[in-house]
Symmetry: C2
Subunit: 576 residues, 2 copies
């Protein structure tokens, strides 16, 4: 490709609204432009990267035997009503009405559509297992689109759905997808960590997210350096340090705590540690209200709570509502909750130990409170606390380490939520109709692209993994006059004919400008044929990633091919 | 690919709602399934065809130097307000509101988006001409989706837009697209005719549609067998037969025509030909009302009328409204129209000849009416009649022939409608800012696929042009026992390793069933290795399109490769 016939709209200045490196560099390198909040145009250089990632995803999916489909983006509301998600998906799902007043969703995910599609196609156990996928545009009306294409409102996803007669078959495909995902991201030059994750509104029994550690990540990961246990903090069980015991006063009595509402204030006033206290968090959904008691130093993990209660939504109860129900915010204790609330004790609380708790009235707490013997109401016990860095690993007990992560893929065991709703059943080996079990597997294509840039950038710009670079090689030439121009054309034609993927910068611009562009856009290999070549026969090959420039006397195209191919192979080797 | 690991959901029965061959066969061959009215799922076999067509389009577009982009499907209402089309596009455009009450269109076409995008990228005449395109999903809320994917509501289009400093440059790219389109369709095995077309709501000065002659076509084409003039009847100028003259009575007088409202009835009663009469058609838009007078035997061409008047919409005026404005429907004549109407005389009417016209009152007509001397109001004269088969060619006068056609592509010279609205200007060679001129070029990818099937089917099913077949070759094997199975596997592995695109039907089904499937799906080449091979070494190669079966004794893979490759080359040769 000749640069003069292409579009390379590089920019010197950082765009004002870009706060992360990938967003800045995608604009500056001329890969994308903004259409509106959360919407991006892909320019030719950017689209090539996107398509290369799509192809890697496709190759690895196909090699597992998964079958590619393409489904309509507009999915009728009936599909969503069948699964019960039309009302659950909320404002994040774009909805549109046609001229006959029929409602459709702009598909944010396609469990329903694929279920509707495969139901009549699957007749017997011989048709199973089957793993179907598409690589297509998805829509989510994010509250806060941000970080460029990392969190946008229209994006490309690879979404796959597998159907199985039993759990063992689902697990086999799940593991196959897990290893395909590792390969896909590895081929894209990304180091991913699969972490255990919350299944959210998808339903299902198990799920893992593929995370890339990054300071701009919106997820918190808790990783064990000893046994390899990794999870999203949304999901991590909180494990009590075995050495922990409550150390507050044992003698039970009411103590005045005027205006001391926070755990911090109460602890300081009474000279105890936050972990010697119990705090209350009041939450509700449309049907019920609940008060959760946690050890004072811990935070509520709403994901674990929702999952335990099987709630699809959850909100904090505002203070006025608490007061109207007879509670005193800031001083709520486990013994003064009335029957308009359910009660849940986080499993971090040791029921036989003595804590400081609210007294159930203004400006007072109780010390020496032993939950096991004092709570009169029925209560649930569950692990709903947010685990933190330093807490013990749920598997081996080693201190967990925290990292920020970007989610680039997600795999789920969905169970029978959708197969039941759509009544997807086949005859098993015994001729008996059996409802199937299902898995689903997603990869964010655009987000993968941006995440690679987050990992592969320096002060000059992007350095692409060679597998997904817009072009593998840039050829920068500087020629004056017809004779020199003919010579550099020969270089281009020769490399192109040899099968190299070459972007030839033959624009009528200065060498500094061209070098800067090639480093900003991030072509992995740069061949320079310039002034020195015409003076002394010297040309150079630059390895962008390792910032290594090798100059040598041109001794023929065979030698050049060998040098370029060797570097190319080395760069591909690094992705294995 | 092994059939047993694939999805080949062929059907014996025709789907009840499918009235055309392509729709029936796409369902029966397992290429698509219906999601809802105008929405289709693409199954693996169908998607492969679609992707091959996309690739042919991409290759030919790229070889002209056009640059591929990908734009958001959701396009903000502001873009459409800038061009003035938000209110013009009507109910055919799906519209959706986001959580901030911002409106978007589900892009039916992307003049606005590309204009917005390229405006800041084009700075000087050196950046021109530029031709940008995408291959992406489009949406149109058709009143009557029909014929399967031929007229659907969600479909894939290749849409290209070119920008130019002047008309000559636009014309050069337009001609380049014209020849690229011929190549694209030819490579897909389609014979297309470019016909002059109406530009419709796109605006612009010239356009041609690429039509495939087909009895199910929704367009009427008028073709000249002598000079090669071809046009959509929406656009064809009506040329008066030079031998024509009005032959009704010359004497002017009012004649009673009780209850004779139609031209047919009046002509019969008065003993004149329909072409000796003048009829009235009353139309309006939001602002004006108009009465058009045409020769009695002709029909109004609304497209030509709208284009002449520069109206974006047009409807017939209902009888009660005509009456309330003092007219007598069925008896309207050119002299009794009042000033609440404008008047237009179709150019088919010879102003100095005598016609039969309405008398402007119940149950009477006037004979011997000479329009030129009688009409008192100001009137326009324009060609707004629908040309018909047998009318003279506008170029050479030969009788036109009518055909039905399916539109698979459309190229437009848009002029400055969008570049003016978006103020897209660059500095020309003299350093003066100049508004650009623009072209646009579309291909319906799914419709191309269905149209190929309309052309390439017989009572057995589809016979794909080899260039876009889901697989070039099907290998049907019949093997019993481990030894035979090992042998047929050898055939598959050998052909695959040789680089042939093979679909191996190794399913545990009878030979008749497998042959029927391969003929229904339409693989161009079928190799059969069955019973006869194990008896006497005989295998066969079947050419689906020409229904030619060649049996021979297998004498080694080299011989087989040669035979298959020869047939393959022959089939590709037919597409040149």
């Amino acid at each position: 490709m000749r640069a003069s016939k292409y579009l390379v709209p590089t920019e010197k200045e950082n765009p004002a609204d870009a706060v992360v490196a990938s967003h800045r560099l995608m604009i500056r390198a001329g890969l994308i432009r903004k259409s509106g909040s959360g919407f991006y145009f892909y320019l030719p250089l950017g689209l090539r990267v996107l398509k290369k990632i799509e192809n890697i995803v496709r190759e690895e999916m196909d090699s597992t035997g998964a079958l590619e489909f393409q489904l309509p983006i507009l999915t009728p509301s009936e599909f969503w009503e069948t699964s019960g998600r039309w009302n659950v998906m909320g404002a994040e799902m774009f909805r549109v009405k046609d001229r006959h007043d029929q409602w459709y969703a702009l598909g944010p995910t396609h469990e329903e559509s694929f279920s509707y599609l495969v139901k009549p196609l699957l007749k017997s156990y011989k048709d199973l297992p089957i793993n179907v996928y598409q690589i297509h545009t998805k829509f989510r009306d994010e509250i806060r689109p941000r970080f460029g294409v990392i969190r946008s409102r229209e994006f490309i996803m690879k979404d796959a759905y597998s159907f199985h007669l039993d759990e063992a078959s689902l697990d086999a495909t799940y593991q196959e997808m897990r290893s395909a995902y590792r390969k896909i991201f590895q081929r894209c030059g990304l180091k991913t960590i699969p972490v255990q994750a919350d299944s959210g509104s998808m339903g299902g029994s198990a799920s893992e997210e593929f995370m890339v550690v990054s300071s701009i990540g919106e997820e918190t990961l808790l990783l064990c350096g000893n046994c390899g246990y990794n999870s999203n903090s949304e999901k991590t069980p909180f494990v009590l340090d075995p050495s922990y015991s409550a150390q507050g006063p044992k003698e039970k009595k009411e103590v005045p705590t005027p205006n001391k509402k926070s755990i911090q204030e109460v602890s300081e006033l009474l000279g105890v540690r936050p972990q010697d206290t119990i705090k209350a968090v009041a939450v509700k959904n449309e049907k019920e209200s609940l008060i959760v008691f946690l050890r004072g130093d811990l935070e509520l993990n709403e994901h674990k709570l929702k999952s335990y209660l099987k709630w699809t939504d959850l909100e904090m109860i505002p203070e006025p509502e608490l007061k109207s129900k007879g509670l005193v915010p800031g001083f709520i204790g486990p013994s003064d909750v009335n029957s308009s609330f359910k009660l849940l004790l986080d499993s971090s609380i040791k029921k036989e130990e003595a804590y400081v708790v609210g007294a159930g009235k203004e400006d007072a707490h109780i010390q020496g409170y032993v939950p096991g013997s004092e709570i009169k109401m029925e209560y649930m016990v569950a692990d709903v606390a947010l685990a933190r860095e330093g807490d013990p690993c749920p598997t081996c007990g080693t201190s967990l380490k925290a990292e920020k992560g970007i989610e680039v893929g997600h795999i789920f065991k969905l169970g029978d939520k959708y197969t039941k709703a759509f009544q997807i059943q086949v005859l098993d080996q015994q001729g008996k109709a059996k409802i199937l079990t299902m898995g689903c597997y997603g990869i964010g294509v655009n987000r993968t692209m941006a995440t690679v840039i987050e990992q592969c950038n320096d002060d000059k710009g992007i350095y692409w993994p060679i597998s997904i670079a817009p072009f593998e090689i840039s050829l920068v030439t500087l020629a004056k006059g017809a004779e020199q121009e003919a010579k550099v054309l020969e270089f281009y034609e020769n490399l192109k004919n040899e099968g190299f993927e070459v972007f030839w910068d033959e624009r009528d611009l200065g060498p500094g400008f061209k070098f800067k562009d090639s480093e900003l856009v991030g072509f992995p290999i740069r061949i320079t044929v310039g002034k020195k070549f015409f003076e002394s026969g010297e040309i150079s090959i630059y390895d962008r990633k390792h910032d290594k420039d090798e100059s040598f006397t041109f001794s023929g195209f065979d030698d050049l091919h060998t040098r370029v191919e060797n570097l190319r192979q080395e760069l591909y080797q690094e992705l294995l």
